[in-house]
């Protein structure tokens, strides 16, 4: 299926959010995820099913003013 991850197109057969993060080497407890504009809590990622054309945002801390 086709996903948009941080604004970029991505093809994958993985349909669970936590597994997608592992496959793409996103790791660490400092990440926040959202799918289609809704926050997906860290503890909900293992059971979160992905669908074709989902838009996924993966954010991490950075410097800010």
């Amino acid at each position: 299926m086709k996903l948009t991850i941080n604004g970029e197109d991505h093809q994958t057969d993985i349909s669970v959010l936590s597994e997608l993060l592992v496959s793409l080497e996103y790791e660490g407890d400092w990440l926040a995820t959202a799918v289609n504009g809704e926050l997906v809590h860290r503890e909900d990622r293992p059971g979160f099913a992905l669908n074709d054309l989902d838009r996924i945002e993966i954010l991490s801390p950075m410097q800010g003013g």
Binding site: G28, A32, H41, R42, L59, S60, P61, M62, Q63, G65
Partner: protein
């Protein structure tokens, strides 16, 4: 002590963490400033990249409270989602709420700001809204549940200092019991001293320290200026006069001719 949503802090300087020459210099500046609160942000993480993690670790080692922002958000939806993601990452319900209305001036979209503030306070956030010096907007933000206001004194990063002193004075006198933090536009320690002399509770700045030739020294300079302004406000300053007034008493002066 300054009380922000039930948390007492001793420093009246809130320091941004962006645009420093290096992480080490950022850490030096934070320590030199003696700040209790730093602002941070969220951005898209690149796969396999641990930049966010390294920055997160640095902030953890500084032992300060974190105030995440929604910088770069232009809509209510973006700001609300970013706030929720920040709460997930930083484990705090504090949020510096920015909803930008114009790319060039980085002026807040105050209508969207009030709406986002209402949504976020309803979801348990403690909102620090980046706003203008408009009194009616300030009232709406308080009605929306904000207990702190953060008016600009000039556009973000402009370093112009307070460009509308009457508006800032008016804001202070209209909201005597609300913590008011001047956020954005400060360029020099003297600017910070001026707004503290007006009775503002604290100052939030970033570029003025990060962009200095010696950020740690500038951070210390700002801390001194902020403390001086605060003490002066409480000490009761004299008013300016049109005419000279001799400071040495005239009575008993010798007459030589």
């Amino acid at each position: 002590m300054l009380d922000l949503y039930g948390t007492s802090v001793s420093s009246r300087l809130l320091l941004g963490t962006a645009r420093y020459p290096s992480p080490a210099i950022l850490a030096e500046a934070v320590r030199a400033s003696k700040t209790d609160i730093v602002t941070v942000s969220l951005r898209r993480e690149t796969a396999g990249n641990r930049t966010g993690g390294a920055f997160f670790e640095l902030i953890r080692t500084l032992g300060v409270k974190v105030l995440p922002n929604t910088a770069g958000c232009h809509t209510v939806q973006e700001a609300v989602l970013t706030a929720k993601m920040a709460r997930e990452v930083f484990a705090t319900d504090w949020i510096k709420l920015e909803v930008i209305g114009n790319h060039d001036t980085l002026q807040p979209d105050v209508f969207a700001l009030v709406e986002a503030a209402r949504i976020l306070t309803g979801e348990g956030f403690k909102v620090f809204p980046y706003t203008t010096d408009d009194l009616i907007v300030a009232e709406r933000l308080l009605e929306a549940g904000c207990e702190v206001l953060m008016p600009w004194c000039a556009p973000i990063g402009s370093a112009m200092g307070p460009i509308n002193l009457p508006a800032l004075r008016s804001m202070r006198s209209h909201f005597p019991d609300v913590p008011l933090i001047v956020d954005a536009g400060i360029g020099r320690p003297s600017h910070a001293a001026i707004v503290m002399e007006l009775g503002f509770d604290a100052v939030l700045l970033n570029t003025a320290v990060a962009g200095a030739a010696d950020p740690a020294a500038m951070a210390a300079a700002f801390t001194g200026a902020i403390e001086a302004g605060r003490i002066a406000f409480h000490a009761g300053m004299i008013e300016p006069r049109d005419m000279a007034v001799p400071s040495t008493p005239v009575i008993g002066k010798a007459v030589f001719s």
